[in-house]
């Protein structure tokens, strides 16, 4: 199961009516959304969405039936057991990071609307506060950094300095290659926020 499917399933299971809904699906041979909604005393749209989500996850099947000329769906339990197994290693960006991404030359953006706070030991950046919007609508977003990320940003070239590639900055900051994914991640985030510029 990939993470997106798992999150949808998790979302379904976390509903306060989920257990009752599954009880109905187990005990009824098939059930329509209106039957389930009236039985559990919840809104029919809520029930319909829930059942559709389960359908997409292939936990239940739906069958179109007619009452007179009006078609509607009846839902039937397909899986008697649900197991959720997520391979977290697939979230590792390392495999997606090509040499070309590490060779992108970067530096701090001129007039970046961001404030860098240093750690107590003063040898790395502990967080970046980014201001977004203008005037009264201005909001700030604070990003707390891991120590390798903070050390990386400590050595990030200044706006008027020559840009350096990610690997060179990592060498300066003495960061191990095991931290590459988190470095690439923060570079991407800060690029999106206009704090880092690529050349």
């Amino acid at each position: 199961m990939d993470f997106i499917e798992a999150s949808k399933l998790g979302s379904c299971l976390s509903k306060d009516y989920a257990e009752d809904m599954f009880r109905l699906l187990v005990n009824y041979e098939s059930i329509s959304a209106s039957e389930a909604a009236s039985r559990l005393n919840i809104h029919i749209k809520t029930t319909q969405d829930f059942l559709e989500d389960l359908c997409n996850l292939e936990i239940i099947d739906k069958e179109e039936v007619y009452e007179g000329k009006r078609p509607y769906f009846r839902y039937k339990l397909k899986a008697r057991k649900i197991s959720m197994m997520i391979d977290l290693t697939t979230l590792n960006l390392k495999e997606e990071i090509s040499d070309s991404r590490l060779k992108i030359r970067i530096r701090e953006m001129k007039n970046a609307k961001a404030r860098f706070a240093t750690s107590r030991s003063n040898d790395y950046i502990s967080n970046v506060v980014i201001w977004m919007g203008e005037g009264r609508n201005r909001t700030e977003r604070k990003i707390n950094l891991s120590i390798p990320q903070g050390r990386f940003l400590f050595y990030l070239p200044f706006p008027t300095a020559e840009p350096l590639c990610i690997t060179d900055i990592m060498k300066l900051a003495d960061i191990e290659s095991i931290n590459i994914p988190e470095i690439v991640d923060i570079v991407q985030v800060l690029t999106d926020f206009g704090v880092i510029e690529k050349s």
Binding site: E108, A112, F116, N122, D123, F154, F158, T160, A161
Partner: protein, 271 residues
């Protein structure tokens, strides 16, 4: 040698404020109360101010402040005893001795002032750091800049800190794992003396940690003190290298070169 000035001119008169207050108060008392009381107020002011100068000497260990303290004390005592309106009756030989000591301390003080030993050298530090920096706009960032690594022992660093403090080049702040040097410009010294912690908040600094790493931070306040927008990364780098060079001179026992380099710029005695 001529060095182009990159910092804006500073027309502040902070250093003269105590003298202006003293003379104004003395003149007002003279006008509204009497001449003798006017002298008395000036005398009391100078004696109190000599205590203040001595306090600064204790903070900085700069000998110009002990010279000022002695000069102010002697001047205050002279007004109280040797002027045409003595408040304290003393042996007739005492005023003569006082005058001699007063003149001697004046010579000492003038020597220290004209040899720039009484000058807070923050301005010289920033001028020297910016000598070869080209203008380049929009470079400012609040991030500190890693300026490199150099070698020194902990005791050498402590000695270096004492040297820079004593010669009013940069005031040291001792932290757990490093010493931070904050250059103080002339006319800003009272800010440092009265509240060093607050003074440091918006100032530029150079930090030497106990592993040999040197970090620089140029504050916005000091950056806009330059006439032009200088290349910010080069400025930080240059300031770091300047202090690394100072440290090298200090370790070689050639610390006088530091003062020579700063004094060579020939900036005004009161700026």
């Amino acid at each position: 040698m001529y060095y182009p000035r990159k910092l804006r001119n500073d027309f502040r008169i902070t250093g003269f404020i105590p003298a202006i207050i003293c003379l104004s108060v003395g003149a007002l008392i003279w006008l509204f109360i009497g001449r003798k009381e006017g002298y008395l107020s000036v005398s009391v002011f100078f004696i109190l101010y000599s205590g203040f100068s001595f306090w600064i000497y204790c903070r900085t260990h700069n000998q110009s402040y002990i010279a000022s303290s002695v000069w102010q004390l002697l001047f205050g005592i002279y007004i109280a005893t040797g002027s045409g309106y003595p408040f304290v009756r003393v042996d007739p030989k005492i005023p003569g001795l006082l005058i001699f000591l007063f003149l001697a301390s004046t010579v000492w003080l003038f020597y220290l002032v004209f040899t720039r030993r009484a000058k807070w050298k923050g301005r010289e530090v920033f001028e020297l750091a910016s000598l070869s920096i080209e203008p380049q706009p929009d470079g400012f960032t609040e991030r500190p800049h890693p300026a490199g690594k150099t070698e020194y022992t902990r005791s050498e660093l402590t000695g270096f800190a004492e040297f820079l403090k004593k010669n009013l080049v940069a005031m040291p702040y001792f932290e757990e794992n490093r010493i931070v040097f904050v250059p103080v410009k002339m006319e800003e010294e009272f800010g440092y003396i009265f509240n060093p912690a607050k003074f440091r908040e918006s100032r530029s600094w150079v930090a030497f940690d106990f592993q040999g790493n040197v970090t620089v931070n140029v504050s916005k306040r000091d950056y806009i003190g330059y006439k032009e927008e200088l290349s910010f990364d080069q400025l930080c780098d240059s300031l770091g290298k300047l202090f690394i060079e100072f440290m090298r001179y200090y370790r070689k026992g050639e610390e006088e070169r530091i003062l020579y380099k700063l004094n060579e710029l020939g900036l005004g005695l009161t700026t």
